[in-house]
């Protein structure tokens, strides 16, 4: 069986006034049928360029990619029939109502709303009370739901979601991921990009993308498992002084702020809580707190970026 997405040595360069910028630096990966594949990376990592190439909107400079077995250059027309795309920027008609948008996108994909209603039912019922409201007047979360409905209305086999949760509140984000998992159960392959590391754990497999290079591809557990060292969360009364102190300490490999804590990785594999306590006592930090934690995807990402 053909893998839904195969990417081989894809290169995309943008010519700027000052030289070239490589958005994609020869990346390769493939996506299995029915999985939620996350492309995780900070802004400017090349996520949108990759999505636009796979969606046949952009031509790559080198390498090739197939979607559902169709070549993105030669057979782009066939690809357009079987994919759903939700761009990062809200791209529905703001001056058309919820219903009109849905009807329009169904029509241009030659799809019938009634036939495919089952697929979008869960999502559409949430926005149905606002069906006569113009799309431009919906809240951020509602807009995302409508965009997802429009991307699904022609029953695509593969769904491309470019940063779907950017700018959406925490509750809506959670709801959105639940919707994705329900879609996955219906056998739709989902490619989703995000810059939120905490969402990586919700994917079946993730590719960590940084400056056009893939740092690692694995399941979230696999990526965390490969992180060989212990991570410590530390907290004290003077967080900023502590950050600089730890960064400067020769026994510390890396230290970065993470929510209310600083995450610290030590150089010596056997070093631990006592060493950190030692540093903090020496410098007389009040309310010092140190505890071991299992590495998050962000910890892995930080470590991979350093390599």
């Amino acid at each position: 069986m053909v893998k839904p997405v195969i990417v081989e040595e894809l290169v995309k360069k943008y010519r700027m006034k000052r030289g070239e910028v490589k958005a994609l630096n020869g990346i390769s990966f493939s996506v299995e049928k029915g999985e939620v594949f996350g492309i995780i990376g900070p802004d400017g990592a090349g996520k949108t360029s990759l999505f636009r190439i796979l969606n046949t909107l952009l031509l790559a400079d080198q390498g090739r990619a197939t979607v559902n077995g169709y070549d993105t250059v030669g057979e782009y027309k066939k690809i357009r029939q079987c994919i759903g795309y939700m761009p990062g920027r809200f791209s529905l008609y703001q001056d058309l109502s919820v219903r009109e948008n849905l009807e329009f996108f169904a029509a241009i994909f030659n799809a019938d709303i009634q036939e495919n209603y089952l697929l979008i039912k869960d999502i559409y019922t949430q926005i149905e009370p606002f069906r006569d409201r113009r799309a431009g007047q919906l809240s951020g979360g509602m807009k995302q739901k409508l965009a997802l409905c429009c991307a699904l209305i022609h029953q695509p086999e593969i769904l491309f979601l470019d940063e779907p949760t950017t700018g959406v509140d925490a509750v809506s984000r959670k709801e959105f991921w639940e919707m994705l998992h329900r879609l996955k159960e219906r056998g739709i392959t989902i490619l989703v990009s995000t810059s939120y590391m905490d969402e990586a754990g919700l994917c079946d497999r993730v590719a960590l993308l940084q400056k056009g290079n893939i740092l690692s591809i694995d399941t979230p557990e696999g990526i965390r498992g490969r992180f060989g060292k212990a991570v410590w969360a530390v907290r004290a009364s003077e967080m900023f002084r502590l950050l600089n102190e730890l960064k400067g300490d020769p026994s510390v490999e890396s230290c970065y702020p993470f929510g209310q804590y600083h995450h610290v990785v030590l150089k010596a594999p056997l070093a631990g809580e006592t060493d950190l306590r030692g540093i903090m006592d020496r410098e007389r930090y009040a309310e010092a707190e140190v505890r071991p934690i299992s590495p998050t995807i962000e910890d892995c990402f930080m470590a991979l970026m350093k390599e």
């Binding site: 969606n55 046949t56 909107l57 952009l58 031509l59 782009y76 027309k77 357009r80 029939q81 994919i83 795309y85 761009p87 920027r89 809200f90 791209s91 529905l92 008609y93 703001q94 001056d95 058309l96 009109e100 329009f104 996108f105 029509a107 241009i108 994909f109 030659n110 429009c150």
Partner: protein, 373 residues
């Protein structure tokens, strides 16, 4: 075909929801057609005249009276010397100086001829040219009057006078509104058509909606046609508003048939909207497309023969006008409205504009890319 229908439906929904659309459709043509033809008068009137009369004779008074009685001139200054009237020109109180030399009457009678000085303020070229021409004609008339008076009746050798009578065909009263109003209407339809069309695709780019359209299986031809027809209908509505105003306000009833105008206008709009869409496919923002389209329509309008007759343009400019769709429509409008031309008379015009339509739209379709490199 089904896709096209939905595209059209969507465009109409969007257009009708735009609150500015009604103002553009009705207020713009009304304002433009009510103000422009009345204000942009071809006849120059109220030319300010400064007179320096060194003669103070019956003849010189008669000349000045004749000039002011013509209706074209308004005596705003009467100076004792040339320097005084020059100051009037400098202060912009006079456009034209007429200086009558001393002994004007005497020399005219005794020596059978006299001289006059006319000085024209040439800052406003049209006013200067026409003012000078008017005053020369009046002086010639005056000359003839004087001579006719001297002739003793009956006499064997009367002064031969060639008397000219002329009639203005197709516009017997030389009512300039009859050819200005249809022309201005063409200008208006062109402006609205191109700016609408050129803004539209760019708006989809700016709003990001083009992304969704581009990943869909919509064909380029359908997309462009879906944009073309709604705007054609809008522009025809503007044309209709304009024709109603022309009839009600100016009493302009075309000698030819309205249907001829609409048939030509439809073909013409295909060309003009195609041009707008073409500009749109090159622009990245609405600002760019707006600027370029108003620049292009301005040139088209100025070179259309609306203000300056094409025949009086230099040869190279006349060649340009042949590639200007606006000039064809203005010609056709005048032909149909004033002369009553039918479809067979404007056949060459239709063919030419059809050529433009194919050219611009073809280019627009080729240049609209659903993919970028």
């Amino acid at each position: 075909m089904r896709t096209l229908k939905f595209l059209l439906e969507k465009e109409f929904l969007q257009i009708l929801r735009d609150p500015a659309i009604w103002r553009i459709l009705f207020v713009m043509p009304i304002v433009q057609l009510l103000i422009l033809p009345l204000a942009a008068d071809y006849e120059i009137k109220n030319i300010n005249l400064s007179v320096v009369d060194h003669d103070h004779s019956a003849y010189s008074t008669r000349l000045v009276n004749k000039i002011t009685a013509s209706g074209y001139f308004r005596m705003t200054d009467y100076s004792a010397g040339y320097s005084g009237s020059l100051r009037a020109i400098e202060r912009d109180r006079a456009d034209l100086v007429l200086e009558i030399p001393p002994q004007f009457e005497k020399t005219l009678i005794k020596e059978n001829g006299a001289t006059l000085f006319i000085g024209v303020n040439a800052i406003n070229g049209v006013k200067a040219g026409l003012g000078g021409a008017y005053i020369q004609r009046i002086v010639r008339d005056y000359n003839q009057d004087v001579r006719a008076q001297w002739i003793q009746y009956p006499r064997l050798d009367p002064l031969p006078i060639i008397d000219m009578r002329y009639s203005d065909w197709y516009n017997p009263h030389m009512n300039y509104r009859y050819f200005m109003v249809p022309g201005i209407l063409v200008m208006l339809v062109t402006m609205i058509g191109t700016s609408f069309a050129s803004n539209n695709i760019v708006r989809e780019i700016e709003m990001g909606t083009i992304e969704q359209i581009n990943v869909s299986p919509i064909r380029k031809v359908h997309f462009i046609l879906g944009k073309l027809f709604p705007f054609m209908l809008l522009a025809l509505t503007v044309l209709t508003t304009g024709l109603v105003i022309a009839r009600v306000v100016y009493g302009i009833v075309p000698v030819g048939h309205y249907s001829t105008i609409y048939v030509f206008a439809s073909v013409y709009l295909l060309a003009v909207l195609g041009l707008g869409l073409l500009l749109s496919t090159y622009a990245q923002t609405q600002q760019q497309s707006m600027l370029v389209s108003s620049f292009v329509t301005m040139i088209f309008n100025l070179l259309s023969g609306l203000y300056t007759p094409i025949e009086s343009m230099p040869g190279w400019a006349q060649v340009i006008t042949r590639f200007n769709p606006v000039s064809y429509f203005i010609q056709v409008m005048r032909m149909v409205v004033l002369k009553g031309s039918g479809l067979s008379d404007i056949q060459p015009h239709i063919l030419a504009v059809l050529g433009f339509a194919v050219f611009f739209n073809g280019w627009a379709i080729l240049n609209y890319k659903k993919r970028t490199g």
